[in-house]
Symmetry: C2
Amino acid sequence: MTAEIICVGTEILLGNIVNTNAAYLAEQLAGLGISCYYQTVVGDNGERLLETLELAAKRSEIIILSGGLGPTQDDLTKETVAKFCGKKLLMDEKSKKQIAEYFEKRKMKPTENNWKQAMLPDGARVFENHNGTAPGMAVETKKNKFILLPGPPEELKLMFEESVAPYLKEQSPFVILSQTVKTCGLSESFVEEQLRDLIDKQTNPTIATYAKTGEVHVRVTAKADSQKEASKLIKPMVKELKSRFGNDIYSTDDGVTLEKALADLLQSAGLTISCAESCTGGLISATLINVPGISELYKAGFVTYSNKAKRKLLGVKKGTLEKYGAVSSQTAQEMVKGLLAETKTDVGIAVTGIAGPDGGTKEKPVGLVYISCNVKGKVTVKECHFNGTREKIRRASVTTALMLARSCVLEYLSKEILK
Amino acid sequence: MTAEIICVGTEILLGNIVNTNAAYLAEQLAGLGISCYYQTVVGDNGERLLETLELAAKRSEIIILSGGLGPTQDDLTKETVAKFCGKKLLMDEKSKKQIAEYFEKRKMKPTENNWKQAMLPDGARVFENHNGTAPGMAVETKKNKFILLPGPPEELKLMFEESVAPYLKEQSPFVILSQTVKTCGLSESFVEEQLRDLIDKQTNPTIATYAKTGEVHVRVTAKADSQKEASKLIKPMVKELKSRFGNDIYSTDDGVTLEKALADLLQSAGLTISCAESCTGGLISATLINVPGISELYKAGFVTYSNKAKRKLLGVKKGTLEKYGAVSSQTAQEMVKGLLAETKTDVGIAVTGIAGPDGGTKEKPVGLVYISCNVKGKVTVKECHFNGTREKIRRASVTTALMLARSCVLEYLSKEILK
C-alpha cells in the first residue's frame, strides 16, 4: 500500500509557516508501515491542485491532503477532490449540527460561510473534528482513497489519531513496529561499517541509520501479522545492536534525548550536577533544564564569559589565565575544579573555547574548545576542534559536553562497583 | 520568473525531520520576488527523482534542490540532475582541494567516497560551502536553471545567503529590494490594523507582515530597474512605518536580531549586562552570547534553578522564598537586585517561572513567569502568562526578557538626556 501527502496552502509556499503537518503525517504513515514516496505543497489554487491530484492518483493508492477545508472562498480542497472524483457536494446534516454546537458552546454566532464546511462529497466517510469546525473525510474511488484533513496542526493530529489511523489500519493486513537505538560519540560511517553485515542481509526487521549532531540513531523496523509478532522480530536485533555498541548506546527509547539519558543516569546514581560555561554561554544548562523534573539534580550554573567572572566566580588563577590563556586545558581544569568547590555538587561540566567568528589565532583557531568534567574530584579534559558557524560550534560543544559527562559518570560508576 | 523547490531525502519522507529547508527557501524566494507554486519532497531514489525533475522542468524555470549531495551511495541528486541535463560529472580540482583542507583542519582523514563530493556536472557554477564539505552548484540548460544545495540547514542557509541570492538576482531583469522593519511586543493583528490603509492601496512597494515569537516583522519590497530606484521606493515607506511604530521598532536591518539590537543599544550607551535565570535555565545568556563580540558588555550569568542557588548566589532572602514562593514578583525583584550587587554591571535581567509540564497550581499555573530588569538600581518587574509546551514557554520568556531589557534601557536613556 503506497500513500502520498499533499499539503494545500499559500502560506506554506510563501515560507510563512513550516510544514510540520507533512512531517507528522509522514511519521504516522511510516509507523503504520505505509510507504510514502512523495510530499507535495501546492497553493490555494484550484487548477494547480487538480493537476497535483491527477498526478498523485496515478502513482499512489492513498492520498492524504491537509488544509483548504476552511470556510472562506480560498478553501478549495473539498471542491477540487469532489470535482476530480466526479462527486457532488451535499449538505451533511450531522456535520451541520456539530458546527452549530461548536459555536453555541463558545457563545459565538456562525457566519453564513461556516455552513460551507458541512457540504461533503457524496458518499464520503466523515471524520469528526473535536478541535475545530471543519470535518475531515475519506473519499473513495475504485482506484484511490482521498483523505482530507484540516490544516491547523492540533485539529489534524487529533483527527488522525482518533479516526484516520483506525481507518488506515482497516486497509492494511500488517502491523509495523519500530524501535530506535540511539548512540552518541560515533560517526555515521563507523556505525554503518559495524552494521554492514546486518544491513546487507536485512529483510525483516530492517535497519537504517540517521545522523544528528554528535549522535547516530539506528532504527529497527519489523512487519508482522500482530503487534506481538513484530515485537518478537525486533527484540533480538536490538539485543545484537546492544552487544555491538555497548555503552555508546545512550537509549533504546524513541522519546529519550541525550540530556534526558544523562539526567536519568545521574538520578539513578544519586548524583547532582552543575555547569560553568564560557563560549556556550548557558546553552548546556539550558539544554539540561529542558528535561522536566531536573531541579532535583541540577543545582546551579555559571556563565563566566569574561576572565574576571572566571576568576571571581570559579577561582581560576590569574597566573593560569596569563600563562595559558582563557581557552586552554589548564583553565578548563581550574574552572571545573572551582565549580565543584563552589556548588558542592557531585558532577561538574565546564567549557571554554573560541566560537568565532573573530578571536581566533593561528595557535588557537576558531572552533578550538576545551570541555572538562569533574566527577567527585576526578577531572577529565577533552580538546575539541569544531568547524562551522558560531552557532554550530556552540551546538557541537553542548552535545560533546553532555557525552563527556555521561562517559565520565559511567566510568566513575563502573569503578564504584569494583570497590 | 517562477521557481519550485525539491527537497531530496528519505528522512523527510519518513517524518524523521521537519522540512525547515523548504520554509527557508520559500521565504527567501518570496523576498526576491520570485513566484514559487510547488514544493516537492522525494526520497533518495534515482528513478522517482528523475520523474520529479522532468515535471518540475516543464512547469518552472528555476528548480532549487536541497539534499542528496553527501558522500554516500544514497546521495543521488547531482548524478540525477547531470543525467537529466545530459552532462558528465567531472572532478572539480578547487572543490577537491577545499575538501582536503576541511579534513586537514580537523585532523581527520577523508575516505575515498569523500572525493565524490568534488565531482560536478560539466560547466556547473560552483557555490562554496563554508559550513561543510559538499559544494553547491547551479546547472543551466536552455530552459532551466537547477540549483543544488546541501541538506544540512546551516550549510544551506549560509550558501544561499553568500552565493544563491546574488546568483538569482543576476537572472532577473528587475532589481527586487526588500527591507524588514522589525517590531517587538506588538500583536500581528494590531500591526495589520495599523497598516490596513497602506496594505489596501499597496502596489510598489508591497508590504507584508510575518509573526515570530514576540515579534512582528513588516517586509517592504520594491521592484525597479536599478538598486537605486528600488531603494528610493522603499525609503518613504520605511519612514512611514517608523513614524507609526516608533520605539516598538528595534531594527530596520534584516541581519539584526533582537539580541543584537539590545547589544548595540548597550554598547552605544556604554552599559554592561548580566543575567540570573531560573526557568529559562541559561537560555537568555546563551541568546545574548550568540552576538559576536558581546564579551565587552556581557559580564556574567547565573543559572539559579534551585532555591539554594537563588539564596547563595543572588542573596534572595529565605523569608521572601517562604512567604511569596520562588515564582513571585518579590523573588524576581530580589534576584535582579542581588545580581547587580554581585556582578557590578549596569543592567541585569532575571527570570523565575513555571515552564511545566508539572509544578503548576491553581494560583500559579504552568506558564506564569516573572521577568525583572534592573537598570542602575531602577527595578521593573513584568508578570507574564504564557501558553504551550515547556520549550515554547521558555522561548517566549527569553524574547520577553530581551524586550523588557530594551525598553527599560531606552527609558533610562531618555531620562538621562533630559537631565
